[in-house]
């Protein structure tokens, strides 16, 4: 079964890059543009991994992470923070909330895939054979 990855970022550019990074793998990449949408998609789709931005309108990533960890049905989903903010307070607060990993923007797609591979199984997408 394909691995479900939820990308939560207000930047369409980042969501496209995340989608592109996992294209070679047997993954379904779901998208949300803020924390509120992210919680709805997470509850509905139960992704295997969430890639989460910090600064977003409507609901930021820290609030979404807090709510995820309070929800018994969602708290076990591993979360990788993908953010340009690497300040001490931010990193400590997020680590204490129980994030699995942290990737600072700018980033290479390979770095994201490597970190994701430590959280979930990433199988290469089967090559389609001509009929």
């Amino acid at each position: 079964m394909a691995t479900k990855i939820l990308s939560v970022d207000d930047s369409r550019t980042i969501r496209l890059i995340v989608g592109k990074a996992f294209k070679p793998y047997d993954c379904i990449v779901l998208e949300a543009s803020n924390g509120e949408e992210g919680l709805v998609v997470a509850a509905r789709e139960k992704p295997d991994l969430i890639v989460l931005d910090v600064t977003m309108p409507v609901m930021d990533g820290v609030t979404m992470l807090t709510k995820l960890k309070e929800d018994p049905a969602l708290k076990a989903i591993p979360v990788i923070m993908l953010t340009a903010e690497s300040g001490r307070e931010n990193v400590l607060q997020i680590a204490r909330l129980g994030v699995r990993d942290y990737l600072v923007k700018p980033f290479k797609e390979d770095q994201l895939v490597e970190k994701a591979g430590r959280c979930v199984t990433l199988a290469k997408r089967p090559v389609a054979t001509p009929a």
Binding site: R12, T13, K20, S86, G87, N90, D101, L103, V104, P106
Partner: protein
């Protein structure tokens, strides 16, 4: 919990997550400027030890000079005395911003972006892409990112791995906004770590033919310029270090 265990814990997390540290001279300079009782000598000593910071400060202090031979302000001490302590903060803010921009080009576009003197670039004319983001708290100000439409398109294509012809205006605008977010997120982290807590406001990105950069009372301005192949980028930072 006291600050020291927090700092040690952060260092351990930064190592585990692979978070790169801000250059020591920049962190030190930001911490000194964050103290309202800092003295000029202390600032000068930190800047003089870093050739990059010294060179940028002197460039800012000699805005009309085409090169070093035309400098009328020749020392770090003179530059700080003339431009004020606020110029040291702009210097400390500009470094993480420049590093983030250069690293973005290197990692996401595989292009070597160079920091250059303003006069080495062609001036923008007519309509261009402008992104701006405000920050407010113990330090307040704005970061402005300007580039031609062609440069904005080339950057979006590079980041997304698409051909320029495949891009619509929304993709180009969004990529410029993300570039701005990455730059400002990195410098905000340095400010907050030095005790200058501030929050970023939502970015605004769009086409404009307005070249006016508003400077709030008590604020300083630093202009930075960058070049990679045909891409030219202009960055302006305004900041008031003691807004509160």
């Amino acid at each position: 919990m006291s600050a020291q265990p927090d700092i040690n814990q952060y260092k351990e997390l930064a190592r585990r997550y692979g978070i790169a540290a801000t250059p020591e001279s920049v962190s030190r300079l930001t911490q000194i400027v964050a103290r309202q009782d800092c003295c000029v000598d202390e600032i000068v000593r930190v800047i003089e030890k870093d050739p990059g910071l010294s060179s940028r400060l002197l460039r800012v202090a000699n805005p009309h000079a085409a090169d070093e031979s035309e400098y009328t302000v020749g020392t770090v001490d003179e530059a700080i005395m003339r431009n004020g302590i606020g110029s040291a903060l702009l210097l400390a803010m500009g470094t993480p911003l420049s590093l983030a921009l250069i690293k973005t080009f290197q990692t996401m576009l595989s292009l070597k972006l160079e920091s250059v003197d303003l006069h080495q670039l062609d001036s923008l004319s007519g309509q261009h892409m402008l992104g701006s983001i405000g920050f407010a708290g113990k330090v307040t100000g704005h970061v402005y990112l300007r580039m031609s439409s062609a440069s904005a398109k080339a950057i979006a294509a590079g980041i997304l791995g698409l051909e320029p012809g495949e891009l619509g205006p929304d993709e180009i605008r969004d990529a410029a906004g993300e570039l701005l977010n990455i730059m400002t997120g990195n410098f905000k982290s340095n400010l907050c770590d030095a005790g200058l807590d501030c929050k970023l406001q939502p970015p605004k990105v769009g086409l404009t033919d307005d070249y006016f950069t508003p400077i709030e009372p008590g604020s300083g301005l630093e202009r930075l310029a960058f070049r990679a192949d045909q891409i030219q980028i202009f960055v302006e930072v305004t900041a008031n270090p003691w807004a509160e």
